[in-house]
Symmetry: none
DNA sequence: CATGAATGAGCTTTCATTCAT
DNA sequence: GATGAATGAAAGCTCATTCAT
């Protein structure tokens, strides 16, 4: 083992090189883990499979992550990312009607998240939250709260501009969230087994969003009858 | 702890060990299984734990259910699919407007399923379907298909009576299903960890159902603007 | 239920009736056990199956036999029977050539033992002897020794009458025994699985016995060549 | 206990626990398995015992053999079927009389198989075939058929060269097989318990083979009398 | 750093045996 | 005597984790 050039190393970036390798490996492992966790679930994914898909040996995985659970945590942390600011900006500068903004929201979500591997993370979190309360709290803070805030702002815009009827925002956000998250879950669970009845996501979203927009629109001419 | 009346004790309970209660056993085991499956998931629940919670030994469980999967199926039948006929009849004989029928649907669902332990089963299936394809197929056939059919009939009633706008029923059922299932999932996963932001189910359902009814109602006076 | 005639009962045999039941049960159990042990082997036969075939409950079996092993021992003891004296007499009074006596021996064995369930006992003993040394010793004494003696006498007759060549009787008996026992084993083990190549017992025995008789006959015209 | 030479010790055996001996493992496991299977039977031998006797843990056994049945198959291949080609070649190049070839066959069989632990495998199969049909099928294909073929060729050689009388080969092979297999069975079952009457295998084989050769030899001067 | 042989706790399921009735 | 519900010790196999190399 050659002596390292201590000076240059400590001068330029004492850890860049080593860190890169140290950081690259985990990245490959995290990718592999995300893929397999989403595909087969946490419990059914064997550590060895993850290692193999990442092109390393079983031992190496445990060199970077002290346990399968820690790997899971890292996968979630890695993938919740910072896309919210970008979307927030897009939505803030949107010029059209709020109905169109909401349509854009939903289709953008599908295009950029829902249809990708990353949508599996929601499913993963829903499935495992109870066994990883610490992670659940983390997810709540890093993903759910900012996500809810984003939706809240869109709905508020509609209300403020007289396009949408007023509503309790605490529950309003779920009008948007529930259909999307349900789709994510479905896609990654029962939707994979029950062939024959296949759900077309675009059609699903289209009906959900149009019904929602209709439902949010201010007073229809003739309200639905109530028997009582 | 009150002192036991020794005499009555020896009269009532001389059968401490080999307590012959064949008829009660399955019910006790199903209760225990439901509780633990919902709490910890299917795979993570050990057969022995179920037996212990039911107050019997491991072997006894297998005396009544030939495998853990059969136990699960029995739990599903007991708690969900067994009730469809009753609901179906209730809905069929409903006299009021379809809007009210849908309101009844949702609140009945919440009262009889959603608010009980049994709502954990949906979460369970979503979480584990992929690892237990046979269970998934069973659930699809025993719960999802009949459940969808029930909803489809309600919506069709509204359409047929000119109360709801026409729609593609394949996707229409998800307008009802998604909010309910999302609530089930949430309650049993992330909802358990993130105290503080507690969701009131009745309020959640109220907003969902009213928005949905509004969304389904025939042509509002002034449609939402579309920019394009 | 008619009142029994107490007097005659207590007079004739105070215990005959009760004993008969007590004795009949074990007999039915032993029959059932023999059948199943022969058919499926000792280990693979479940105590409950034996009880069921005997028409009693599981508990009853253990009322008469303290364990499955004891049941096995009883089965063997029950079935070794005392047929040897009868055969011994038949052979002693045989009038023809010893070759014919031997032919009779073998075909009689096949007709009365080999082709019946009882041949399974040899297989059972061979299979389990090592696990039941006590039983093996018993079998050795009650079955093997008398059986060998029977065969020995037949062969000795042939030698004494100048029909068979002289031989060491200790090993001679196996010339007769080996083909028969091999057939028993085969029939109850590999012979049951490997269809296609089915062995016809009569043909098998015919060739064995004729070859043996030829082999035992005194000096053939031209001895087989020996190279050395 | 002699004082260890500390130096050499630290040189030779620093690898006490995680001894990396991948190549040696299967052989050690096969040896242990053969020993225990023969001693206690297939079903009664626990995987853990085999591992223990081989000096490894339970898990390690399954690292090399995917199941207990596969382990058994490997034992059979290692000890029996793997040797047929060698024997086949030896027999094919044999130069002497077929009588001598048969004598060689039998004594070779005894020397290389019959007298070794491996002869227990035949007994094993006879005892357990019915409970493990898959193993039985494997054994039939891997051992019985090639073995029979080997014997058939030897006998056919004798017939073709005018040394042996013609016979139905289907049954002829059992003239050779039965004595050998009976000896194997005996040795590993009743033969282990009934001391006193000990069978000398060489003498047993000698009488069997000479009688057989005499029996197979072409027409003796004076055939055995038949009374009818 | 990386490897992969080795470990052993853990899981479902079976079944001989017990014992209250 | 007879029953059958209940038991719990096994046993085969898996897989996260360790650690000598």
């Amino acid at each position: 083992m050659p002596l390292p050039l201590l000076q240059s190393e400590s001068t330029l970036a004492p850890h860049i090189k080593h860190e890169r390798r140290k950081d690259a490996r985990p990245g490959e492992l995290l990718d592999a883990a995300l893929t397999l966790f989403v595909e087969k679930g946490f419990a059914a994914t064997r550590a060895e499979e993850v290692a193999k898909l990442a092109g390393v040996s079983k031992g190496t995985l445990f060199l970077y992550f002290s346990s399968k659970e820690e790997l899971f945590k890292a996968v979630v942390r890695e993938n919740i990312s910072g896309r919210f600011p970008e979307w927030s900006a897009e939505f803030a500068s949107f010029q059209g009607s709020t109905a169109d903004l909401l349509r854009t929201c939903m289709s953008t979500w599908w295009a950029r998240l829902g249809s990708t591997k990353a949508s599996g993370i929601s499913k993963l979190m829903m499935s495992e939250a109870r066994n990883f309360p610490e992670l659940a709290a983390f997810y709540q803070q890093e993903v759910i709260q900012p996500g809810n805030e984003l939706i809240r702002r869109v709905l508020q815009r509609g209300v403020d501009r007289g396009e949408f009827r007023p509503m309790d925002m605490k529950y309003g956000v779920y009008l948007v969230l529930a259909p999307m998250l349900f789709l994510s879950m479905w896609k990654h669970s029962l939707g994979t087994c029950c062939a024959g009845d296949e759900l077309n996501p675009e059609d699903y979203i289209a009906l959900q969003v149009e019904t929602l927009l209709n439902g949010l629109s201010i007073a229809p001419a003739k309200p639905l009858n109530t028997t009582h």
